[in-house]
Amino acid sequence: MQNLYGARSLPAELRHAGVFIFSVDPTQRHLGLISKSDSGEIEWLHLAWHYFLSQSSPEKEFLWIDPSIATIRLRQVAAQCRKIARENAIGGIPYAFDLPNECFDADSMRFLAATKHGLTCATFVLAVFETVGLSLIDSETWPEREDDIDWKSTIIEKLKGRAETSHIQNIESQLHFARFRPEEVAASATIAPGPSDFSSVSPIAEEILKSLAAIDTDN
């Protein structure tokens, strides 16, 4: 895969914006966005947890993807990252399983739209690209998988006690929404501009998982 890179530090080759991914543990990956300004300043943006939009760099070795998107458009992705970071520095974005479409409210002009309950780390990345006109995936081709329902149930349990009861009730109704796994979203960026269907993304996602496993083995 030509546009997938391993890194322990800041990716000097970054063209304005990219996607990073690392393993949290053997069963969980985390995904986010990197952007670089003209002065070379690197910024990180990722939905770390419920109302926790983080701008911290990963604390462990990660992979990063140079999206298959025109450089001139990646500059707009970077600008949107900075805008969302400015807007959501306080308050943040809730954690839920909404689809990553129409996250920019056309009436209030706010991200996240009031009609949305929240995003995951992966759908946050999809949503940012979508707000600048770049749809990475064809969400209708994503399958419903039993182990994704298990994963969502685990997340809901972790949110209990941290999120309001109404939020828990809302996301419990999203158990059967398609899940876009971090490695799948990372894979979709390698074949952008999309939207890419599940069958195109899936084999690349497997390669990314193997690369992440190799990193973890080396460390």
Partner: protein, 87 residues
Amino acid sequence: MGSVDSALDILYDKVDFLLREGKLSKVDEILESANPETLNINIILGLLTTTLPAKTKLKVRGTFYETVEAYVNDQFDDTAGILIGLK
């Protein structure tokens, strides 16, 4: 931060503010006065990007897009991907 990125940050905040305030005619004025031949292409794409959520509400955005499309086709060798998703 470089001048283009700084200009984009100001543009994103300004257009966003005007759209949130419902000042659509003001945004239309900006689009009407924006000339792809004299403005930096990144600013032109910034205008198309920031107005994307309001594309059905802005009167001149469609015409502005067509003007930009003609400019891009004339000035760039590899036009694929430059305007994708911005119509």
